[in-house]
Amino acid sequence: MNFQYSFSRRRFLALSAAASSSLIMPGWVGKAGAAPLAAIKEEDAIIAFGLTGPVSDEGWNTKQNEGAKAIQAAFPKAKTLVVESIPFSADASRTFRQFVQEGAQMVFSTSNYGDFFASVVERSPEVAFLEADGRRVADNLGWYYAAHWHPTYVLGVAAGLLSKSGKLGFIASFPVPMAISSSNAFMMGARSVNPSATLQVISINSWFDPQGANQAASALIDNGCDFLFGVMNEASYLQVAEQRGVRAAMWSSDMRRYGKNAYVSSIIPDWTAFYVDQVRKRLEGTWSGGGQTLLPLGGGIDRDAWGETVPAEVAAKADAVREKIIGGWSPFTGEIKDTTGAVRVKAGETLDEVALYNWDWSVEGVSGLST
């Protein structure tokens, strides 16, 4: 899946630094200290999107493209530029520079392109930049992402109730915070209803490799797992689950047509409202850099409608947890232990959103991802 991370040493160091630093402001929306950029007339506006894969991927990029379409619908006189399949290389810099040369006043990078993106941001102070899954901010740069751990916790509750063996499987890409927070939230959700549940993770060392995900799914099921989840953008492990008669939950889009018996639900992001709001601010002249946004459960990230084989009482129990989270309750409250059994979050303490965003250790019960 074309998610958020290109896993390089530099990236890893940056993440570790971000995770250990307390300078990042907590909360849904961080500081916006810089002076706003000047207003633009709608007919002059050019909004650019850099995508990691094809818009037809039925996943991450399809959802990003829906965001671009929503902007076009809301501001019909503005022009939107969408470039697909930008590689994680110097070509990314070239593409973003091209956006600026073509006169774009606002550029969305729908993934973390690291320094390839940052170099363009620094040279174009008059252009507004937003980076999905970013960690850096500047006077013309903000980052945004979705608090996917909340709906993932809800799916974890359903998995804990549906799994007979108590052994859950997770197909990850790389041991990066996105995969760690996702597996942790899933495990904690499952353990809230089945304290003896365990989660086995396999990293397939790719964001997109249907053959690898297929084999990983078979290995997990052979090992006794009867519920699969993962951060892949495609349906191959759902198809394996369907064939083998176990259940699976997915990411990014409704994939029930690939396996209607196995499909439980999916984590679905919806960027449209956020994107339209950001563009409106830019046009009005109220947009400024430094924004740090994590879209909340029910406001940009949510579960999909439950699969047809999910019993009503399971759906009801999981949805009750969903309502509770929307009401302000955080499931990520101590005591939380890591895989070695050491207490990492004391009873009564709660991990804030930025800590969850940068999560770099696995909770008790998860094996295979990190120590």
């Binding site: 094809p54 991927d57 086995q200 396999i202 060392n205 297929n214």
Partner: protein
């Protein structure tokens, strides 16, 4: 399912993709042409199979259509490299780039659609009752039997037991001598290169009709290159190629089983297993067995275009 049976089942399924593509490449290289377009041909075959099964929900039709598309692109490649004597490496790379690009463009309409028809397992009576091995080897779909038993035996027999096969190998070893002996060098190369390309596209169809039943851009994920490497690893012999592909599939599957069973090895290292394994299997026998060093490797005229008038 038993863990070893599960391991073998995925090894056979995953290895089959490589085996089919590599068998095509063996035919091609044995007549003296390197086809580096396997990756692109696989992508084309994969998308063709999906597109055809959507209108005609029969996996055999989809597979046949993929073979046909592979044959056509193989003929274009053979025309350039064999008849017009263009550089084989450049043409192969061009075929890969064109194939993956074209497949991505054509595939746009089909991405996100599950395959309408797939090959279902055909259980071989008696043999499938063998404990552990039976379910893994004899409860698979028809393409697996074709790839692991029928095709390698047929190609081996053709290549090493018939006069035609001798001629074929002569074309790859010394096209000048073969020509002097009255063997139609260019026709032989043209048709076997096209046939090899058809099998590579067939491997793509195997992927979407029997292994990962849907199309998405990038689905081949470098397996075409591994198939080319396997041919060299297996010393250009069809039986060895199939065994090498199976071994590769087995080691890959072992990496995932290792993670699933939580072996205390870093996932990145387990992911490296197939490549480390291949290195070991190439290096160790050469060191241990003296005889292995003297085995003829590549066909002598591999990669060289044949000019009748330049000797």
């Amino acid at each position: 399912m038993d863990i070893i049976t599960g391991l073998l089942t995925t090894a056979v399924l995953a290895g089959g993709v490589l085996a089919l593509a590599a068998l095509g490449e063996v035919i091609c290289q044995r007549v003296g042409v390197v086809n580096l377009g396997v990756e692109g041909l696989m992508a084309l075959g994969a998308v063709t199979a999906i597109a055809v099964t959507i209108s005609v929900p029969n996996p055999s039709v989809g597979f046949a259509a993929a073979l046909l598309v592979g044959l056509c692109f193989g003929m274009v490649f053979a025309m350039a490299t064999v008849l017009f004597r263009a550089n084989q490496v450049l043409c192969g790379l061009a075929l890969t780039l064109m194939g993956t690009g074209l497949a991505a463009t054509v595939g746009r309409a089909f991405s996100g659609m599950p395959a309408k028809a797939t090959f279902q397992p055909v259980i071989v009576p008696y043999l499938s009752d063998i404990p552990i091995l039976g379910p893994a080897f004899f409860s698979q779909n028809i393409l697996v039997y074709l790839t692991f038993i029928i095709l390698p035996v047929a190609i081996h027999y053709l290549m090493f037991k018939t006069r035609h096969g001798l001629n074929m190998r002569a074309v790859g070893e010394n096209p000048g001598a073969a020509d002097a002996a009255g063997i139609p060098v260019l026709a032989m190369r043209f048709w076997y290169v096209s046939l090899g390309a058809a099998l590579a596209a067939g491997a793509g169809a195997y992927l979407t009709l029997a292994f990962v039943p849907s199309w998405s851009d990038g689905i081949v994920a470098g397996r075409g290159w591994i198939a080319v490497a396997l041919v060299i690893f297996a010393r250009y012999r069809p039986m060895n190629v199939v065994m090498a592909a199976l071994l590769f599939g087995l080691i890959t599957a072992l990496g995932y089983v290792g993670q699933a069973r939580n072996w205390p090895v870093a996932p990145a290292l387990l992911g490296m297993l197939p490549y480390l394994g291949t290195l070991c299997f190439i290096i160790v026998p050469v060191i241990v067995l003296r005889r292995m060093r003297q085995l003829p490797a590549a066909p002598a005229a591999l990669g060289l275009p044949y000019f009748r008038d330049v000797r």
